[in-house]
Amino acid sequence: MGIRERLSGNEAAAIAMKQINPDVVAAFPITPSTEIPQYFSSFVSNGEVDTEFVAVESEHSAMSACIGAQAAGARAMTATSANGLSLMWEMVYIASSLRLPIVMSLVNRAVSGPLNIHNDHSDAMGVRDSGWIMLFSENNQEAYDNLLMAHRIAEHKDVLLPLMVCQDGFITSHSIENIELLEDEKVKEFVGKYNPEHYLLNDKEPIAVGPLDLQAYLFEHKAQQAVAMRNAKKVIAEVSADFERLTGRKYEFFEKYKMDDAETVIVCMNSTAGTAKAAVDELREQGVKAGLLKIRMFRPFPSEEVAEALKNVKAIAVLDKADSLNGAGGALFEDVVSGMYVANVHVPTVNYVYGIGGRDTTVSDIKKVYNDLNEVAQTGNVGNPYRYLGLRGEI
């Protein structure tokens, strides 16, 4: 079953979009996501999709065009990175508040400045509170699979929120790796048709989209968005279960790698999870009870489930590929520890900011973290909880 292929992460995302065949794609090129709309526009030119491709003049316009298309009743997609997402920012919030299930491929890259084109998660962390569902992907396969699941999640009547699928810029977007693709027909059947309940081009139901929303209603609308985000958990679980039945590939809110008897655990997202798996394997051979918890679903954040999964371990390191510059911890760290606190789970937990601006993270870097965790587990002393991994010199 499936088609054995080798593709870069960007190729995988573009192929997913081809198989989804959305009504509208609006995008503006920015490294390292440029190839996605580039490949996709060739599918349009070759007649392999019947999508309306809008070559806009900026990312602000790209998101605006997606909003217009989706509000009109179309299925819209885009792709971007870093400063492209920054320029979209105003419209990113509008997309979610208008409850438009747009799907974005976000190829993670450091937000300037100074100018850096390489991978970290500062772009994604900048929109973590914008009301978009955010799925993270370890490799090309997960970037592809998450995109195939995206529309069914986003368009579900209990959700109706936009969704972004993240993958690491260059590290996976530009690395050719093995992948298993689904046949076009199976994707078409799985994704299904988009049948919006309310849309602008429905002449039988005239509606207004995005009018003034002041003291009397905005609060309630925001609360409805929050309910939709909570509802997304159930829908993500259902769609992922369907996808597993189709492909045999199991996706949960997070992946537990060798967690059953784990004592020291790293929590991280995207490609570093793969490197951490290799580190866990090597440490396990030496008898170290190392484990990994890889977050796939970052928004909504699976607070209760993460706390439950971590409650019996001895020490935890949360790896953040973006520094929140708040004098405290990174975004993922704060989500993990607050989830544990609320669930009355008390395990010594430290935060490492790592990989900023494309700083390479190796198996030996990860093993160093597990080594540090052994010390934390043995002494019960967290020491400085706000740490760096791979930073030169002393701070």
Partner: protein, 192 residues
């Protein structure tokens, strides 16, 4: 992953080291392997030193970092020997394959005491004789396949003709020359 082979390519922007690494990944993929092929992106300019990488394994590869202790190093341009530490981390039981006309003594001096196997090939000669132009990446691709034994010569050549037919769909006249470059390079690469 004891069967894992890691390869680091050193070239200059425009010489096709990245393309060669992707073609090698393709060829290994077609023999049923798990592969990675990726360049290290920097400020890319024609002539600037660039690095590309391959991982090839019988098992799925999860590591996503650059390669610091390669089994093989391929040097596409011997002027890099003066400015890049090409043997950095190279395993002593591995090998380095250099596009050069320098003799063994000169190479030994340039490789700063590397004790592993050193192979050389005059990729310029191969390329000029078969393609009439200097494209060093095609001969170097054949050289690394020969030295590493990732696949047999026959399997490699059979696969590459398919790749070239796809890659050069719009200029089929260069396919023969590229195939000849591969065949000649498989014979020309020699141990120093």
């Amino acid at each position: 992953m004891s069967n894992l082979i890691e390869i680091r390519w050193h070239g200059r922007g425009g010489q096709g080291a990245k393309t060669a690494s992707l073609l090698l990944a393709d060829a290994a993929f077609n023999t049923g392997k798990y592969i990675q092929g990726f360049p290290e992106y920097g400020p890319e300019r024609m002539g600037a030193p660039i690095t590309a990488y391959n991982r090839i394994s019988d098992e799925p590869i999860t590591v996503h970092s650059n390669i610091y202790e390669p089994d093989y190093v391929v040097v596409v341009d011997d002027t890099l020997l003066d400015c890049v530490d090409v043997t950095a981390g190279l395993k002593p039981d591995g090998a380095i394959i250099i596009n050069t006309t320098k003799d063994g003594e000169e190479l030994k001096a340039a490789l700063k005491g590397y004790t592993g196997n050193v192979y050389k090939i005059d990729a310029r000669k191969v390329s000029m004789e078969t393609l009439g132009k200097y494209f060093p990446n095609t001969p170097m691709l054949a050289a690394v396949v020969k030295v590493s034994g990732i696949m047999t010569d026959e399997a490699f050549l059979e696969d590459m003709i398919g790749s070239f037919k796809h890659k050069f769909a719009k200029k089929p006249e260069v396919i023969d020359g590229n195939m000849k470059a591969l065949e000649m390079a498989l014979q020309e690469v020699t141990k120093v």
